[in-house]
Symmetry: none
């Protein structure tokens, strides 16, 4: 019976505004990947920006740096970032208007899935979630 105190539920990074939840069913790689994709989609990360090194972000999030490296490689496959051995990782410019749209769609998709996944874990009904979302939409002041 180990008294291992390595288990923090949530870890926030300081090098990037993202966080991981170790209790969630979603794999860490996916969590990291989805949040970085969202940052790019929202313009919080701009073309040319350098991402933290895999070791830096991994230390922040208290995960293995290979986990971050895997997330980066997947984002590279999506043509969102460029990962260069020995140099670092950089945000790419979207190649077309269509790819920007695709990025937005994919981001919304993953955000929606995240909410559904969490809601289901709480045993909430579709109706409850929809209602909460409508309410939230009105409560948040429109821009």
């Amino acid at each position: 019976m180990k008294r291992q105190q390595a288990h923090r539920a949530i870890a926030k990074a300081s090098s990037l505004p993202i966080e991981v939840d170790f209790r969630e069913a979603v794999p860490l790689t996916e969590q990291i990947r989805n949040q970085i994709r969202a940052l790019i989609a929202r313009g919080k990360l701009q073309p040319g920006d350098q991402l933290p090194t895999v070791r830096q972000l991994a230390a922040d999030l208290r995960v293995n740096f290979n986990t971050v490296a895997r997330a980066y490689r997947m984002l590279e496959k999506e043509a969102l970032i460029s990962v260069r051995h020995g140099r670092g990782t950089f945000v790419l410019a979207p190649v077309s208007e269509a790819s920007k749209e695709a990025l937005k769609r994919e981001t919304l998709h993953s955000l929606a899935h995240h909410l559904v996944q969490q809601a289901r874990a709480l045993g909430l009904s579709e109706h409850e979630v929809m209602a909460a979302l409508r309410r939230a939409w009105q409560e948040d002041e429109p821009p």
Copy 2:
């Protein structure tokens, strides 16, 4: 192929103070599950503690590791532990029955606000978000 099992009447684990009795009518999964639940209830296992790996405990108890994994997953459904692929299994902090509902509402509220905030930052309409959510709800397999 005949399997000699007479030697396993009772097996005690060294990695956890629990044991299984192969002659008992109660399924092994239940025996393991009940005893771990009791250890948590009595505080012998505390929030943050790491449980033995499924293979470790299985070897101790002379049981297939899937049997332990099943017990772990059931305990996870009871919200007593968190089982993470590739990482291990950890005891969760208890949530009182009384605060469960409030916590659920709070979580839903913050999840909904988060989605709204992100969606607005992406310049999406309420209708688009609602539609995406409905789709996501159907894509995730219903329990």
